[in-house]
Amino acid sequence: MIGLGLLKGLKVTLFNFIRKPVTIQYPNRRVGLFTISAANSTNPFKFFIKQPKTAIKSLLNMATIPVKIPQSSRFRGNEFTWFEDRCTGCASCAKFCPLGIIEIVTQPGGTDGQEGESYAIDVFDIDIGRCMFCGLCVEACPYDALHMGTLFERSGPVRNNLIVTKEELIENQKKPSSWYRPQFEDDSFNPFESEIDNHRQAGRHEKPSDEDMHNDWVNR
């Protein structure tokens, strides 16, 4: 019958109107009084006495609470995790980088945990402003020294701020992404919350202990 299709169209939009919106408001969302007091784990009256300014704002739907986007633990983000004592300065990552944005300057005379003598690393810069987060540097690293990070909020007005330097890499929290490291997914390790302190946890497979590796090296 004519007109039935039109009514069907009206029905579809009406159901959309009734349904809860699918929008995720990032980085914060507008909330009312009840939601914000629940977020502060009090009831609305106590919240009104405690923080009257925020409460009035929330009555006008202008108060905000931060929103975290649900994110895969395999997400390849920009806060690289790097273990200095693990890195030999071989520059495999720099060679494999398709964009050539990793700059490494070394000089002889450094020490390494396993092999004793190694290169001392003067410069280890990653220009993440041009990085495409392919992760080839992480795959290429023969010593499991470099890992992808989990964060992505590093926008700014100056391009130079997007260069991750060696000092920053050392200071960074060690929160590697579980990309290319499947053991993180097995071990209930959450890269967004917990930190690792030992590079051995981040290896790409079960690593032998230092002693075993030394014996292996000697007996070869």
Partner: protein, 423 residues
């Protein structure tokens, strides 16, 4: 005329506070003493008129700002997302920000444009829309003027917007704008006929052209007595205000912004304002004529009931806009001439017979009339729809067989093909 319904409360308030002593301001305690000395009643009269117009126009502007915000929120909800909610409480200031942005943009007049007409067009567009509101009673005593030919006034004034559109299109000196303007004029002129005829049934029942009188005559809302009239008037007013099923003047994929292509800054803003004010205006007319205007239970003031019905009609218009796709120009004109026109004629005949049988109906007879009108309305809509559909399919087939316009290069003359390649 009964005095208390037709007395303009706001005007009287302003006038009596300004003028010294006048016969019109007598109350039970004697004369009301105003600001001006005696002998300056004419000045008080003039000032009160200006102030009344000032209040109403600013009210409309505020309502437009609010309705833009509300419509955007509703678009969001109909598309299963949130609307604008960042700027101010519930996003209320986002349309204010839009207005400020529009005002501070650069005002460009194209070099090919006809300057005078280009500047006149937005003004011509917005004036009739404001004039609609002057005759609409928004509550007891809340109106600018109660014309005894109110409906005719509205119908004649709104037909000016077609002129404004074609002037805007012509003055832009742009072929896309002219296409859009011609389409708009075709649609506006076609739909004025069913729009006017759909109100005839209402006039027969009400016996007056004054909008206040029509509201007063509605013992039950005329949407129950005049379902066909409401149906036709709703669709025709959607076409008149260029709303979505009929918005081919601004068909984005074909014409860009249509006749608004070359307008920028506040001229564009005025067109935008006129469009939204026309939406509010047409829903105000629908409310007044078909939904018994300001009538409602006495618990709340009459203005509230008017606003409530207005908002419901606005939401219905937005709902239609979010649901239905745009029609082609031939479909739109066929709907007007082959569908709605016949429906209005059926409605007029049915109503005329009913009014002849019951010239002074009691309440029960009114309900019987409503029932008969519904019995006439539903089958006639179905029959007209079926006829329209069959004819429509046939015309499309015929159009494909002998295409009047060259579609591909193979239908072009060989001399033209080379020129196309060069350009």
């Amino acid at each position: 005329m009964t005095d208390f319904l037709y007395e303009n409360v706001i005007f009287r308030l302003i006038y009596c506070n300004l003028s010294g002593s006048s016969d019109k301001c007598v109350n039970e305690y004697g004369y009301v003493q105003g600001i001006f000395p005696a002998g300056f009643e004419w000045l008080a009269f003039l000032l009160a008129g200006f102030l009344l117009a000032f209040i109403f126009i600013n009210g409309i502007l505020g309502a437009v700002i609010l309705s833009i915000w509300g419509e955007r929120r509703l678009y969001g909800r109909f598309q299963n997302r949130l609307g604008p909610n960042r700027w101010g409480p519930w996003g209320l200031f986002s349309s204010v920000a839009d207005a400020i942005k529009v005002m501070f943009k650069e005002d460009v007049v194209p070099s090919d444009a006809d300057r005078l007409l280009f500047n006149i067009a937005p003004i011509l567009m917005v004036f009739p829309v404001f004039m609609i509101f002057s005759v609409i009673p928004m509550g007891i005593g809340t109106f600018v003027v109660d014309l005894n030919v109110g409906l005719l006034f509205i119908l004649s004034v709104t037909s000016m917007s077609g002129l404004a559109v074609v002037i805007a299109a012509w003055a832009s000196g742009n072929r896309i704008a002219i296409f859009s303007g011609l389409r708009a004029v075709a649609v506006l002129i076609s739909y004025e006929i069913p729009m006017a005829l759909s109100l005839v049934g209402v006039l027969m029942f009400a016996g007056t052209l004054s909008l206040g009188g029509i509201v007063e005559q509605q013992k039950i809302p005329f949407i129950l007595l005049q379902p066909l009239g409401f149906f036709v008037f709703f669709l025709a007013s959607l076409a008149e205000i260029n709303r979505t099923p009929f918005d081919l003047t601004e068909a984005e994929s074909e014409l860009g912004a249509g006749y608004l292509n070359d307008y920028s800054s506040m001229k564009f803003g005025i067109f935008f304002l006129a469009e939204f004010a026309a939406t509010i205006g047409s829903s105000a007319i629908i409310t007044t004529v078909f939904l018994s205007g300001w009538k409602g239970p006495d618990i709340l003031p009459s203005q509230f009931w008017f606003l409530l019905k207005l908002v419901i009609v606005l939401i219905a218009i937005v709902w239609v806009r979010m649901s239905w796709p745009r029609l082609r120009i031939d479909q739109i004109l066929e709907l007007a001439w082959k569908g709605l026109f016949e429906l209005t004629l059926i409605n007029i005949v049915a109503t005329a017979i009913l009014v002849t049988i019951w010239p002074n109906p009691t309440m029960g007879e009114i309900w019987i009339m409503a029932g008969i009108n519904w019995l006439v309305a539903i089958p006639s809509v179905i029959v007209v729809g079926k006829v329209l559909r069959r004819k429509d399919n046939k015309t499309i087939q015929a159009g494909r067989d002998n295409e009047p316009y060259p579609v591909g290069t193979e239908t072009l003359a060989p001399s033209l093909v080379n020129k196309v390649g060069e350009k």
